[in-house]
């Protein structure tokens, strides 16, 4: 590697610039960022492109605009948004039910917030049904998801359980709410890559809140099982996360004060996953934790057991198609009736 004189090679040519020019450039850049961010924020609030965030917006809208109070609230994640049919609950239990389930990222914190807000607006329901996929119970709060609740700013402090006032939480909630380039970057990326896909967006919700699926996807059920099984880190040890525990405590307190019953059921699951030895061990541990938690609670009841389905009845390992959702709802209705009789 002998020395060689530089000839026409690129070099760094500094410009004639003052400090004032640097600050002006930075100010202009931030102004452009702020304007673009505001436009995108308004657009995504009005027309959510992310299915999960759309679901949050629609379910909270249902809660706020409901005219007649519901007898039963169904709370939880997407497994019950698709899997619990209020129509079947009415038929089996004679209760007018409202499905307010969102997605797993919101964990039980959103359940508690919705219940708290519902009671403020409509008074207490007669019963609450809560259903989450197993891994949702062990997760901490996903602030980017929880920031999407369409309530007046600061709700994360006002509604129970409060997420607290720490700078970290406040920063995350503000970023999640008002800086979509941070919290919805993947959605924006998809829009940039396929802008026309926005036109064929296919989100549907029924008036009772259910978001049913019509078409099974057996291949995806298997693939999804492979994806979520590794989420079980230690099969012998199931632990409800502190955030979920706070949420359950808040729900329990609301139930005690307003005298309504809360039923916790396990989400529907693909049979292949439920029969996996690793999952079975984990499920045993999960059941014992819930039994222990609810044993001294007068108003909170854990419904044991795992209802399982075949992959031709499912879209993924915990999402049922419509006919199977009715089956699931009929079964848990019977379980709820039995639990009511036994208490």
């Amino acid at each position: 590697m002998e020395n060689e004189k530089d000839k026409s090679w690129p070099v760094e040519k500094l410009g004639a610039v003052r400090f004032r020019d640097i600050f002006k450039t930075m100010a202009r850049t931030f102004l452009i960022l702020a304007v673009v961010n505001a436009v995108v924020c308004v657009f995504l609030s009005a027309f959510p492109q992310n299915r999960a965030y759309w679901l949050v917006k629609e379910k909270w809208k249902l809660l706020e605009t409901r005219e007649k109070p519901a007898d039963m609230l169904v709370l939880g994640d997407s497994s019950c948004s698709m899997g619990v049919a209020p129509e079947a609950l009415r038929g089996n239990l004679g209760m007018d039910a409202l499905n307010l389930c969102v997605f797993a990222g919101m964990i039980a914190v959103n359940d508690a917030w919705m219940l708290d807000r519902y009671i403020q607006k409509h008074g207490a329901p007669k019963a609450v049904l809560i259903s989450h996929i197993y891994y949702s119970w062990t997760n901490g709060p996903n602030y980017w998801a929880l920031a999407k609740v369409p309530q007046k700013s600061g709700y994360w402090r006002r509604l129970r359980p409060s997420l607290g006032n720490s700078p970290g939480v406040t920063a995350r909630m503000w970023l999640g709410r008002y800086v979509p380039f941070f919290s919805e970057n993947k959605t924006i990326g998809e829009i940039i890559k396929s802008p026309l896909a926005m036109l064929s967006r296919d989100f549907h919700i029924q008036q009772d809140g259910m978001t049913p699926i019509e078409k099974a996807d057996p291949e995806n059920v298997e693939a999804d099982m492979e994806r979520i099984l590794p989420l079980i880190k230690n099969p012998k040890e199931f632990k409800i996360s502190p955030a979920n525990l706070k949420a359950l405590d808040a729900i329990s307190e609301l139930a005690e004060n307003a005298k309504f019953d809360v039923y916790i059921v396990n989400s529907p699951l693909y049979r292949g996953l439920a029969e996996n030895p690793r999952y079975r061990e984990y499920f045993k541990s999960m059941e014992s934790v819930f039994v222990e938690y609810t044993k001294d609670k007068k108003r909170v009841h854990y419904i044991p057991g795992q209802l399982t389905y075949e992959k031709n009845q499912m879209e993924d390992s915990d999402h049922l198609i419509r006919p199977a959702a009715f089956e699931f709802t009929n079964e848990i209705s019977q379980m709820i009736e039995k639990a009511s009789r036994d208490k």
């Binding site: 590697m1 690129p10 500094l14 610039v17 850049t29």
Partner: protein
């Protein structure tokens, strides 16, 4: 903490605010930077902080002895200790298991049963960089090219300066020490360039390199499932990844240093526009190639002792360059490959003996050199020479069901890089994008920031060169 992490952002805001508040009090600034640099290094693994401090203290002492002693024998002894101890430490942490395992394989292959224990050795981050960094000081003092620093803290800051501690550039004491031992002025033109370099470096790292890694890892880690164009795409993806990862880091390091009034050496000069192997090494990782030239190639004899000796020195230098990158035979093979390219090029151009070329010849040379470099990166990235050979042999033009998606991914994320690099090349100015009129410059910066937010791989993926 990585440059593209929230931890580093907070760290730099604190350090930089304090730095600016100290105004022209450079001694206090040096102390602040020294403490900050050790905090920065300790953030990775506090257990290796004493190692850095120890190597620094030893070499400072030895350089002082070299300078103050009159006896050439003592001077020689001191420099020998400096080089031997520094390389022994580097060798132990980086190459111990490699040599043990290689020796075991060699013995087993000739019938001797060997079962040697290997150690579970953690590699201190950046050790290859700061070892070379520190050695440039003692060697330059020995050669009489540099006076040792009077103050230990000045040398300690040179050794641990956080922008270049973990992945270079491999700076020379003769460049940095004068900047440490005198008041620094933050010039607006350099600060402006610093801001651009930080932003462009972040862009290359987060928006290009990390997205290229998705494809490169997929192909290289599952190479048996891919062939034809998929392999080509994987190689191209890694070619972009390693350049953007490494040059992105260098740009950020230089940008951060410029904001503090320091000038670090240029480390990358559009290497993929090189026309021949020699030019490539004058554009790629310039700080390493010049270090090897000045402290290995030239002391070996350089090109002073005839053609054969020149090629021998070239081959040794490139083999050690390969070994510097990693303790594995495929890195050595990569070094040997580049040595072969250089030797072949020297033989070819000495046969041609022409100095001017047409534009089309230039373009063809650049394309050809790019292909040669990409082939070399296959050796570099594949975990074994065998896998690299197998991948190169199955590369071609056949397509699979994934080819289109892979190609789209590659094209989409590489497009901004290609556009900016072409702009830099055609204008002959590495800072061309910041010469736009103010409004357009702000638009460009806003675009880059948004692109980083939208497409940047969010969790901090480690820079590739940190394993060196």
């Amino acid at each position: 903490m990585l440059f593209n992490s929230l931890d580093f952002f907070v760290f730099f805001i604190i350090v930089y605010s304090a730095y600016l508040a100290l105004g022209t009090r450079y001694r206090e600034q040096n102390f602040l930077l020294l403490v900050g640099s050790y905090v920065f290094y300790g953030w990775w693994d506090w257990r290796f902080v004493p190692l850095l401090a120890g190597v620094t203290a030893l070499n400072h002492y030895l350089a002082g002895r070299i300078y103050s002693e009159e006896s050439p024998a003592i001077k020689k002894r001191c420099i020998t200790i400096s080089v031997a101890v520094s390389f022994a430490i580097l060798g132990f942490f980086k190459y111990f298991n490699f040599f043990i395992e290689s020796a075991e394989q060699a013995l087993n292959s000739v019938g001797f049963h060997a079962d040697v224990a290997t150690l579970n050795i953690l590699l201190p981050v950046g050790i290859s960089f700061y070892t070379f960094h520190i050695l440039s000081y003692t060697i330059d003092v020995y050669r009489g090219a540099l006076k040792p620093t009077e103050r230990f803290e000045d040398f300690a800051l040179f050794a641990a300066f956080f922008p270049l501690l973990l992945a270079g550039p491999i700076e020379r004491a003769s460049n940095i020490l004068p900047q440490i031992t005198a008041p620094r002025k933050i010039r607006p033109d350099k600060a402006d360039a610093g801001v651009f370099l930080i932003l462009w470096g972040l862009f290359k790292k987060m928006a290009v390199a990390d997205n290229m890694a998705v494809v490169a890892n997929k192909i290289f880690d599952n190479n048996g499932q891919y062939h034809g164009l998929d392999i080509v795409i994987g190689i191209l993806a890694f070619t972009a990844q390693i350049y953007c990862d490494f040059s992105g880091y260098s740009d950020m390091a230089r940008g951060l240093a410029r904001l503090m009034g320091f000038e670090l050496m240029l480390n990358f000069r559009l290497p993929y526009f090189a026309r021949n192997p020699r030019e490539f090494w004058q554009r790629w990782h310039i700080s390493l190639s010049t270090w090897l030239r000045d402290y290995l190639y030239i002391p070996l004899g350089g090109n002073r002792d005839g053609e054969l000796a020149r090629y021998r020195n070239l081959v040794i230098t490139m083999l050690l360059c390969g070994l510097w990158h990693g303790a594995a035979w495929h890195f050595v093979a990569w070094g040997a490959y580049h040595a072969a390219l250089q030797v072949a090029h020297n033989l070819f151009i000495s046969a041609r003996k022409t100095s001017s070329s047409e534009a089309w010849e230039d373009s063809l040379s650049r394309v050809a050199m790019f292909i040669f470099v990409a082939i070399g990166w296959t050796l570099f990235r594949a975990p074994t020479v065998g896998q690299a050979a197998s991948m190169l042999m199955s590369a071609g033009i056949s397509v699979s069901s994934e080819t289109l998606a892979l190609a789209k991914h590659l094209a989409f994320y590489a497009a901004p890089l290609v556009i900016v690099q072409a702009w830099q090349h055609l204008s002959g100015d590495l800072l061309a994008p910041m010469k736009l009129k103010p409004a357009k410059k702000s638009l460009l910066y806003a675009f880059m920031i948004l692109w980083i937010f939208i497409f940047g791989v969010r969790e901090s993926v480690e820079f590739i060169y940190f394993q060196f």
